[in-house]
């Protein structure tokens, strides 16, 4: 059961939510992309409901709301530390079905991978999710094959239908927002088909490292890490210590998002590093997304949003890479050496 809202009523709804929550949504930053006069769509706190971009996929994912690109953990002096304040209060985030599935991935790593992450949890505890329904798939999406096309666990789903909005509320606390609105018996749409199809071979195993399918990426990839930074499920970070004074006796420790594609990701103190070749980094990322994570948590990490394809300056397609795995396994065989 849902409600049909006019555009005005929808904006009223967002405004009412804004009274109680900080509302985050994909927003257009005019001229904010790499090239001259090209816009970028990324997440920001919404000041006006009209800013919310509903008809395009955001270039950067919602994850920045839960995992800021740069997050201060604590401040220190010589012998004392002081935890950083939470950067925001109660929040609502507009996201898509694939990203709703990515929330589960972030939760498993940050809450269920042996330790609970204090900083993630305090932001996670104060967030509600509104899914922007995708009646049609975007060009690079492959959510259907990754099983993430139907949203799960959200508080609300909205679907723009011409001048109107179908709104399905799944959070009982929000029912008050809909008093007086007529109910309709309509379920929100979801993408039932993608142009891009992927197949992860059942026999995939770490032997794939020996395949020649990775070699092309040694020269094609430039190890810039864009694929990781836009990915809603990439969660790696690096610690930074920032000095406030020359003598280094006061400062702050931050964590910033990190990329397994970028140089230095594996550097150890003695000067050693792993995966020097970019093809090896592609393989590492690929295996995490469609194999390693599944071995650990029971389902695939990649949610098929296709942002990595959209952003790659070298036109490397992750989904095309997935579809090479089968050939790769034929080449190397399943037996571990």
């Amino acid at each position: 059961m849902g409600y049909t809202l006019s555009k005005e009523q929808f904006e009223t709804l967002v405004n009412r939510l804004s009274e109680q929550y900080q509302v985050f949504a994909p927003v257009k930053f005019v001229g904010g992309n790499t090239f001259t006069d090209v816009d970028v769509i990324r997440y920001d706190q919404v000041k006006n409901p009209e800013e919310i971009v509903l008809d395009q996929k955001s270039d950067y994912s919602f994850k920045e709301v839960l995992l800021p690109l740069s997050e201060t953990l604590f401040y220190y002096t010589e012998e004392q530390t002081k935890e950083a304040d939470i950067p925001r209060g109660e929040a609502v985030v507009f996201l898509r079905s694939c990203e709703m599935h990515a929330v589960k991935v972030l939760d498993d790593i940050y809450l269920n991978n042996k330790f609970e992450d204090y900083y993630y949890k305090r932001l996670r505890d104060k967030i509600k999710f509104i899914v922007i329904a995708c009646p049609e798939s975007f060009d690079s999406c492959f959510c259907v094959d990754m099983g993430t096309n139907k949203p799960e666990g959200q508080d609300m789903i909205i679907e723009q239908q011409g001048d109107q909005f179908l709104v399905v509320n799944e959070n009982p606390q929000w029912e008050a927002y809909f008093e007086g609105y007529a109910k309709v018996d309509q379920a929100p749409s979801y993408a039932k088909e993608n142009k891009v199809k992927v197949h992860i071979p059942e026999n995939l195993n770490p032997n794939i490292a020996k395949s020649s399918i990775w070699e092309e990426y040694d020269t094609r990839c430039i190890a810039c890490g864009r694929c990781n930074f836009v990915c809603p499920t990439c969660t790696c970070f690096t610690m930074q210590d920032i000095l406030y004074s020359d003598n280094g006796k006061a400062g702050e420790r931050r964590r910033v998002q990190a990329s397994c594609m970028v140089d230095g990701f594996t550097d150890v103190a003695g000067g050693g590093s792993y995966r020097k070749k970019f093809g090896e980094r592609m393989r590492f990322k690929m295996m995490h997304k469609v194999y390693d994570f599944r071995k650990r948590f029971g389902y695939n990490m990649c949610v098929g949003c296709g942002r990595c394809d959209d952003v790659c300056p070298e036109y490397i397609s992750f989904s095309a890479n997935i579809n090479k795995l089968e050939e790769g396994m034929k080449e190397v065989g399943e037996e571990h050496a």
Binding site: T81, K121, L243, A269, G270, H336
Partner: protein
Amino acid sequence: MRNEYIPFISEITEVIKHTDIEYTFRMTYEGDVRPGQFFEVSLPKYGEAPISVSGIGDGTVDLTIRKVGHVTGEIFENYVGDKLFLRGPYGNGFDVDDYKGKEILVVAGGTGLSPVRGVVDYFATHQSEAKSLTLIAGFKSPNDILFFEDIARWKQHAQVILTVDCAEGDTDCHIGLVTQFIPDIKIENMDEAVAVVVGPPIMMRFSVMGLLDLGLKEENIWISQERKMCCGIGKCGHCKIGESYVCIDGPVYRYPEGKLLID
């Protein structure tokens, strides 16, 4: 809930110099800790580095730190009485119970001796708890030898083969790689004998191959991995190998599991 990222203060109670660039810092620490585990050691000016526990005392832990990179460089300016921020201990570490009553062979390369020092020391001290104890320790040169006094003490109760990659001046130790001494090790019960291998990746690979050739069983070999670790708690992703996070599932692995992990 607990904020694992906030470090605690630990005081340096003693500094032991091994080489020009390698020191052991004895730090105050109350709590459970195993050899092979590690602490995230930080200095406000530079940041954190994972350092494995090289010794466990009464209310102290030993952290053997090699002066490489700017993180660990700063620590050398701190001396007894100074304080450091620590987090941990993290990782699984070694369980000496796994080796009790058996022929034990420890193969260590360079600073790889730090994480196993506790294991060697335990059985060198509790000789009745092992059938035999053999240590093959390799260093780049005589000047790089760690725990020299410990090694001298262990020699009284264990077979110790000390080897250097190249000769520099007078030394009574062997010259060559640790791997070349493995075939000569006398093992009575191949099915029961256990081995621990810690060191640089190539050294570990060839050592394990040597041990398997010798006749040891895969499941009786343990290795310890060194990877970049920013968080120590399975979040930052730098140490992930295959499906495993070295910081929480390792750094110590039984070989049948460890061999499946591809960087």
